[in-house]
Structure formats: C-alpha cells, structure tokens
C-alpha cells in the first residue's frame, strides 16, 4: 500500500514514545506467545509420539485382512493363503516401494486360565523373528525371553495379565478360543516371558504365541488373520496402500491404513487437531486482550494528533491503516520475543524430553510415552504467527475505526 513506510515508522515511533507501556505489552505478548508456542510444540510432539507408538507397538502402518475381518473380528474370516500378498509385498520391497518389513499374525479373543484364575485375553500368533522387524513388542521384555523358533508351547504375556492370572515364568497357562468351525479349542502353554509396554491393551490383554502353534491349535492350516506391514515412514503410507490396492485388485481383501485399524487413533488425531485450533484461538484472545487496551489508551492520548493528520489530508482509510499497522508492529515484536522464548524452551525439551512419568498411567491407554519430546515445526510456528497477526488486526480494528471516524475539527479541540 502507498505510504506504508511512513505509517510503519509512525507506528514504531509512537510505540517507543511510551516505552514502559509498550514494554509491558510486548513482554505480556511475548510470554503468552512463548507459552502457546511451547504448547503447540508439545501437542505436535505428543501426536507424533502417539502415532509412532501406535504403529510400532503392534499395529503396523498398514494391515491386510480378509474382507470384513476388521468389522467382524471373527476367526472364520481368515486368509487361507497369503502367497499373492507376500509376492506383492516382496515385489514392492525389492523396488524400493516403501515397504520396510511385514509379518503374519493370527489374532483371536479368548480366555486364559491358570490355577483357578481366569482372564480375557487377546491371543496373537506371531512369527517371532519377523515380528522383530515389524513391531517393538520384543523390546518390551521385562522378564524371561522372547519366543524362540521351535518352542511350540511358549507364551509371552502382558505383565498385568500375568498378575491377574497369578502366573510367572515357567508356569502353565491354558488358552481357550473358538476355532473357525465354532468349536472351543484349548491348549496348554508355558510362560516364557513377560512384557511391559505402558500400553493398557498390550499389558492387560496380550498373549503372544508362535504362529505355527496358533495355526495348528485353531485348525487354520497355513491361514492367518493379519498381514502387518511396516513402511519406511508415515509419508509413504498412502502410496503403499494405493500400490497394494492396484496389485491386489479384485481379491477379497481389505487393506487398511493405521488410522483405520483403530478408531481411537483417528479420534486422537482429530483431538490433536482440535487442540491446535484451541491453541490458536487462545493466541488470538491473548493478543486481543493484551493489545486492545494498549491501543485504546494510545488512541485516547493521540486524538488531537489524529485530528491534525486528518486536517492535513490524511484520509480515513490511511488513518485506519496506520492504527492497524501500529498494532501489527506491536504484535510482531511481541511475537518475535515469544517465538524466541517458546522456541528455546521447546528445543531444549525436544532434545532432553519432558518427563511426565508420574502421569504414565493416564497416558497408557492412548499409546503415549511418559517422556514427551516437543516438536517445533515450521507449520506450528506459522500457524501461531498467523493467529497472532489475525489477533492484532482484530485488536486494531476498533481503535482504527475510531481514529478514522474522528471529525478533525472536534478532534483538535480535545484536550
């Protein structure tokens, strides 16, 4: 806009005319924006951490099931033969198609019994060695050993589940589940290890057994319920899914992204987005509250000056713009201070982590780690900057409108 420099200069100098008032406003703005920058970074860090934990704890980035399995969760909806799926994955992996690893699983709900205690379980038949490349389950070993190839009757339990059943290493556990034909099958296993992940679903419910044993026990032949895929990153998930859909087109399979596997993950992602909007709304309110009062006081002090400027030929639009520019200058300075402060705190905790382990139980159901690493992202900062500037414009509108509506003759009579 024409004459923008003179108004920016006037704005800056008017702000410097009252260093105490301007300084307090800038400090208030700076602290507010710093806190919100940190909160935004925490949110981004949390979300990233949650996504990663969700995917790597056991779900994978992508899962392939027989059509309808995710909805029914019935063992009868299993894939009898995964050859085509394996070939497609093998081909994509060799062509650098975003596949890092995959493994097969059988997933079935059942009942565990041991020495008079019973508990619901989620039995997961896994390929012990391949599973290590797909999930972090093996890293959660607290006692004992991971499932060994050839150990047909070994079971690894979640530690809370083991407590409920009052079993420890070497104890017997009977697992019962329905086979595809509807018969209840039971099998005896011996506890080889206990895991603790911090995730409620894993620690309270999971019983890991060898895939071969699960197939034999539940009469599935070579069948599995899940092919769990780990991709190279979140960014390639969509292209991997799209590629797999093309390659497996026409087969009675469902190919699901990580967000589709557990509605909870989708809800938490949505929650994080809503939280971001709340942070941005608070940014606007903080800026409004801080700046509006200062600008109104400044307006009051300068009524005659505005009258003089109008008399000299400054138009209403120019006076309006001048006050808005002044507000923007004020918020920009406060914003820079806030970003420096909030950015420094975020970077520090991004490096060393913020230990919230005393609240670990609260986080356990949503795949959150007890140590949070805030992520200072360009997008996060840009959003706050835009919100702060929007707040500045909103805060400037009323004083600017008042300034532009002044009658020059009346304004110059003001004392």
């Amino acid at each position: 806009m024409k004459n923008i420099l003179i108004y920016l200069r006037l704005g800056l100098r008017n702000l410097l005319l009252y260093p105490m008032r301007t300084g307090l406003t800038v400090i208030g703005l700076g602290i507010g924006i710093a806190a919100l920058t940190f909160l935004s970074a925490m949110n981004d860090g949390w979300l990233q951490n949650m996504k990663l934990n969700f995917v790597l704890t056991q779900m994978g980035h992508v899962q392939i099931h027989a059509q309808g399995f995710e909805q029914s969760r019935r063992i009868s909806d299993y894939m009898g033969d995964t050859t085509l799926v394996d070939e497609a994955l093998q081909s994509m992996q060799s062509m650098q198609g975003g596949i890092q690893a995959w493994s097969h699983r059988i997933r079935v709900s059942g009942l565990a019994s041991a020495a008079g205690a019973n508990a619901s379980v989620l039995v997961s038949g896994i390929e012990p060695e391949r599973e290590k490349d797909v999930s972090r389950l093996h890293t959660f070993m607290q006692q004992g050993t991971w499932l060994q190839p050839g150990d047909k009757r070994g079971v690894v339990l979640g530690d809370v589940l083991a407590d409920r059943l009052s079993v420890g290493l070497g104890d017997k556990v009977v697992l019962m589940a329905a086979s595809p034909d509807g018969d209840i099958a039971s099998e005896v296993f011996r506890v080889r290890g206990l895991i603790h992940s911090g995730v409620m679903d894993v620690d309270n419910l999971l019983a890991l057994i060898p895939l071969k044993m699960a197939q034999h026990w539940l009469h599935l032949g070579a069948g599995v319920t899940d092919v769990v895929i780990r991709t190279n990153s979140f960014a390639v998930v969509d292209s991997v899914v799209s590629n797999l859909q093309q390659r497996l087109s026409g087969k009675p399979l469902e190919i699901l992204r990580w967000q589709e596997i557990d509605p909870m993950a989708e809800q938490w992602t949505m929650f994080a987005e809503i939280y971001t909007w709340v942070v941005l709304l608070v940014v606007i309110i903080v800026v409004l509250a801080e700046v509006l009062n200062t600008m109104l006081m400044s307006m009051h002090d300068r009524v005659r000056e505005f009258g003089l400027m109008a008399a000299l030929g400054t138009t209403q639009q120019q006076l309006f713009a001048m006050v808005v520019y002044e507000t923007l200058v004020l918020v920009f300075i406060g914003g820079i201070l806030g970003f420096l402060l909030g950015g420094a705190v975020s970077l520090y905790y991004g490096e060393y982590g913020l230990d919230l382990s005393q609240y670990a139980t609260a986080f356990s159901f949503m795949y959150m780690s007890s140590v949070v690493y805030p992520e200072l992202t360009f997008n996060g900062c840009a959003r706050i900057l835009v919100a702060a500037m929007l707040g500045a414009v909103l805060a400037g509108l009323y004083p600017a409108w008042k300034a532009s509506r002044l009658n020059p003759a009346q304004a110059m009579r003001e004392i």
Binding site: K2, R13, L308, G313, Q317
Partner: protein, 230 residues
Amino acid sequence: MSDHVLLEAGGLCKYYHSGGSDVAALDQVDFQLEKGAFTVLSGRSGSGKTTLLNMVGLLDTPDMGSLHIAGENVLALSLSERANFRLQRIGFVFQAYNLIRVLSARENIAYVLQLRGMKKTERLAIADHWLFEVGLDGLGNRRPDQLSGGQQQRVAVARALASKPALVLADEPTANLDSVHGESLMSLMRDLNDRCGMTFLIASHDPVAMAAAQQCVYMQDGRIVSVATP
C-alpha cells in the same frame, strides 16, 4: 465567481445544540477571498472565527449555505474527496499541537509531500528549503519537543507552505507566542505571502496579526459585521 476570487461563501450557517436550544455559531455569512490576499478574521472569543475557518478548511460542514473554493463546490465532495482537497489545496497552521510529535521538523514538513506521493529526495530537499525560509536551517532533525513554541509554529508555517497550497489557513497562530515571536511569525507569513503569492486567511484577535493584514474581517455573534483595510 470571477477569476481573481479564490473563495466564495454564501449564507453559511452552523448551529450547535446547547442547553436545549440551537446556538448559531455562523449566521448567514457571505464572504469572498481574493487570490493572493492576506486577510485576518478578527473578533472576540466565540464570535465564529474558528468555526468559519473550519468550514473554509473543510474540517467541518455547515448546516446551510454554499462554499466554492477555486471554482469547486466543495460541499458536494465526499469525505475522502475533502481530505484530498485539503491535501492538494489547503495549508493549515493551528494554534497549538501543530506538529506530529514523533516526526522531526523535516519529516513534519515532508509529511504532506509524502502523502502527495513525492519521492524522498525531492520532498526532503523541499523540506530543507522551507526550513531555511522560516529561519530554522540546521534544526531539521529536532523533534517538536526539542523546539520552542515559536520554532514549532515556524515549522507549521513551513509545512503549510511547502506543498504550495492555494489557500493557507491559520487559526490563532500567535496565541501561544510572546509578542516578539508573534510579531516575527506574522512578519514571516506576510513576507511569504508577498513573495510566493499564496492566499492567507488568519483567524486572530492579536493586534499584531491585524496590523500585518491587507484586509480585516470583523465577526460578532457568528456574523461578519465589517470589513476594513488597515
């Protein structure tokens, strides 16, 4: 309106509402100002001098009457057109609070030129010229609070003249100055009127101003009661 007439007002009225009744600040004022005139509006406080000056300067709007400046019906202009008219055609010197306090003397003078879109080097050169003209050479970088009242008024005069307006309006320009500085300021304005040919309309009841005038217009109770040539 003949070519030598710059300003022509007919039947100007302005009423203010006070104590349940309308008070006429201007009451059927007919007035002409010739190009190059140096006219002083005189009269007691409350006689309507400043109100007339505000109408002529397009700072306020009359309730009735007509007003033409340089052949243009200025009462028909919109608010933004009036602002532009003031910018292009009228220079102002007020009684006090004349300058923008965060700008230096030079920047104050250049402000109007900048609003007109003049380039920086050109406008600063003009500002320096007018600082020299009003005897403030070397004080261009001072802010208003670093100048005396007389110096501030000189800067205001320089600002009013720097854009070479058709009409310069001054409202009690000597009111806040001592007699020496008041006399000096009037002498300066008269000198610039002689040399530059700009038209001056000054509202003042200061005898020094009246003594400098080519024409004195006396006002009383919102009316022009006499016109004299000292």
